[in-house]
């Protein structure tokens, strides 16, 4: 498992790496190469109207690059869920889609308020969504599990009262 900043400062974190992708993933985080293309977006709190635009745009770019439909679909779902999380549970944040020839690395850094218990949030059906968010039809507690299902790598760092950082990796092949 890659060693990152969070471990040093003992910030709670969560790692998921799909079986068989450990080596490629470790080497990616060790080298942290410069992306070929970067797509950046920012999102406001409870901006449900625009939530989905960033993931839609990332998907469109990958489609134009010729990424296989099945991979596109996984990117679209994982990125959309993370984007919705940022709108529903956080005070908005920034998204960066880093495109490489063989993978996409998407980073989500929100403006807080952080998560109490990451492991618990990974359990399908568990949700801390507010009444407002539920009324909007979100907050079923399936966001993070759904990201995990579609991503090859999912990494979350969060602390109550602080920011939440989510990153996902999806390999094109």
């Amino acid at each position: 498992m890659p060693v990152c900043e969070a471990v040093k400062f003992s910030m709670p974190e969560y790692w998921y790496i799909r079986e068989g992708y450990e080596e490629r993933t470790n080497s990616f985080f060790d080298k942290k190469p410069e992306p070929e293309l970067i797509k950046e977006y920012s999102l406001g709190e409870h901006d449900f109207v625009n939530a989905g635009n960033a993931s839609g745009d990332i998907k469109l770019s990958l489609k134009r690059l010729g990424v296989a439909p099945e991979v596109l679909r996984r990117v679209a779902i994982a990125a959309y869920e993370a984007e919705i999380n940022m709108t529903a549970h956080a005070k908005g944040g920034d998204i960066s889609g880093n495109i490489y020839a063989e993978l996409i690395h998407i980073e989500f850094l929100d403006h807080g308020p952080g998560m109490k218990d990451i492991e618990q949030a990974m359990i399908p059906g568990y949700s801390t969504a507010t009444e407002l968010v539920r009324e909007m039809g979100f907050g079923a507690g399936l966001g993070l599990p759904n990201i995990k299902k579609n991503a090859d790598v999912l990494h979350i760092e969060s602390e109550e009262g602080g920011q939440t950082f989510v990153e996902i990796l999806i390999y094109f092949e």
Binding site: L37, R64, L65, G66, P69, I77
Partner: protein, 420 residues
């Protein structure tokens, strides 16, 4: 480039002023103005007809077969789109409008409406047999089938792989007439009377068809024009006319979906190409998997909105709905027809993609292209004024990278340069 795609949309060069109105509305970015005249990329065009309705100078028009082309057949049959019923003023009843076709030289006339009820049954069976594919997409609108081929190829397996009602009727009648009249297939001419260029193209270059039984496509406009001259004869004729009012509403967006919905099949109806594109994006992200059947029409309000109709789409649908309420319901039942379906005679081959989305052959080279496009885009003003002849600044950047335009084509940059 070899012109491998047939298109019903043709350019009338002498009428084109190079105004770029059409360039901006094309949903597949198939049009450019170069050297003051419009150009059409045959690979991208889906024959939706949006450019034809937008052009104020009649520089883009639809070509269809003319009525004379029926003469070379011994037996001539017309198959009319359901929109035909909405075209005539209310003092001309539908049976008379249908009789006029006999006066124009057709030996028999059938309406799309005849088989829609049976088609509904076939479609419901298909939906229930393909439970692992959701949603199933109606194959009714040929512009939508082509849109999926060029822009949403991952959804091709979702398309209902059964011919649309008019093609089904063509297959059925070609077979039936040949049998009953003892004629060979090339002696029987089956002509579609159609409301849009996409249907003309579908007759001349059908997608996924095993056997094309359609011999030509004549526009509703042309038939209307000629039929109006024969109305006196038609109204005096006592020829028996069969009408199937139950199926007439298929030309109107929403009707097909409502008919398929039997309480267990969840349906969605969408019309207008821009709405359709948004829905297809959602579908591609699997956000609409809870629908069983989706019917999409390129034209607003469905086929009644096709550019080859005469009447305004909303008036036409009001007339059709009135006809539906007042006419007696009638069912078409034919064992031979259903047998043809069971034997797979109306099946469609797996549809092939014609993707226009990929920037280059490999992801690596496509990334390089996208980088170049981004760099050029940053230099462009971002006004999307289309004065260069491309639909937007981003597409101009793409055209420059592809060597089809230069940065000097940007009028805004040129003016800034002159000011300096």
């Amino acid at each position: 480039m070899k012109n491998e795609f047939f298109h019903a949309i043709k350019i009338v060069w002498e009428n084109c002023t190079g105004c770029t109105r059409c360039v901006r509305v094309c949903p597949t970015q198939a049009l450019r103005v170069r050297n003051g005249k419009v150009q059409l990329d045959s690979r991208r065009c889906i024959d939706c007809g949006k450019c034809v309705t937008t052009c104020p100078y009649k520089a883009l028009r639809t070509t269809a077969d003319n009525l004379d082309s029926i003469k070379k057949f011994k037996f001539k049959m017309a198959i009319i789109s359901t929109t035909y019923a909405g075209q005539f003023a209310e003092n001309i009843d539908y049976p008379t409008a249908k009789r006029a076709l006999f006066e124009l030289g057709f030996d028999d006339v059938a309406s799309e409406a005849m088989v829609t009820e049976m088609m509904s049954r076939m479609i419901r069976d298909y939906i229930n047999e393909h439970k692992d594919t959701r949603p199933i997409i109606s194959s009714h609108c040929p512009a939508i089938v082509r849109l999926i081929q060029v822009r949403f190829s991952s959804l091709l397996p979702n398309i209902l792989h059964i011919e649309a009602p008019m093609s089904v009727l063509a297959l059925y009648f070609k077979d039936k007439i040949c049998r009953e009249k003892n004629l060979s297939e090339d002696e029987v001419g089956i002509f579609m009377i159609v409301p849009c260029p996409a249907q003309v193209t579908a007759v001349h270059q059908p997608e996924g068809t095993y056997k094309n039984a359609q011999d030509g496509a004549i526009s509703i406009q042309e038939i209307y024009q000629q039929a109006m001259c024969k109305m006196k004869e038609a109204s005096e004729s006592d020829r028996e006319i069969e009408i199937y009012p139950g199926g007439l509403s298929w030309a109107i967006s929403g009707s097909q979906a409502d008919e398929i919905d039997d309480g267990n099949i969840r349906t969605l109806a969408v019309s207008g190409i821009n709405n359709v594109i948004k829905i297809l994006h959602k579908m591609e992200n699997h956000q609409l998997d809870h629908y069983d059947f989706v019917v999409m029409h390129s034209c607003i309000n469905g086929c009644v909105g096709g550019v080859l109709n005469v009447e305004n789409p909303f008036i036409a649908s009001s007339r059709i709905k009135r006809l539906l309420r007042t006419a007696k319901h009638k069912n078409f039942k034919d064992k031979y027809f259903y047998d043809m379906f069971l034997k797979g005679k109306f099946d469609v081959k797996p549809l092939e993609p014609r993707s226009i989305m990929h920037l280059d052959d490999t992801i690596k080279s496509a990334i390089q292209k996208m980088k170049q496009i981004q760099l050029i885009s940053q230099k462009l003003p971002g006004l999307d004024c289309s004065a260069c002849g491309s639909p937007s600044c981003e597409v101009l950047a793409e055209d420059i990278v592809d060597g089809k335009a230069t940065i000097a084509d940007c009028v805004v940059l040129l003016r800034e340069k002159q000011k300096k």
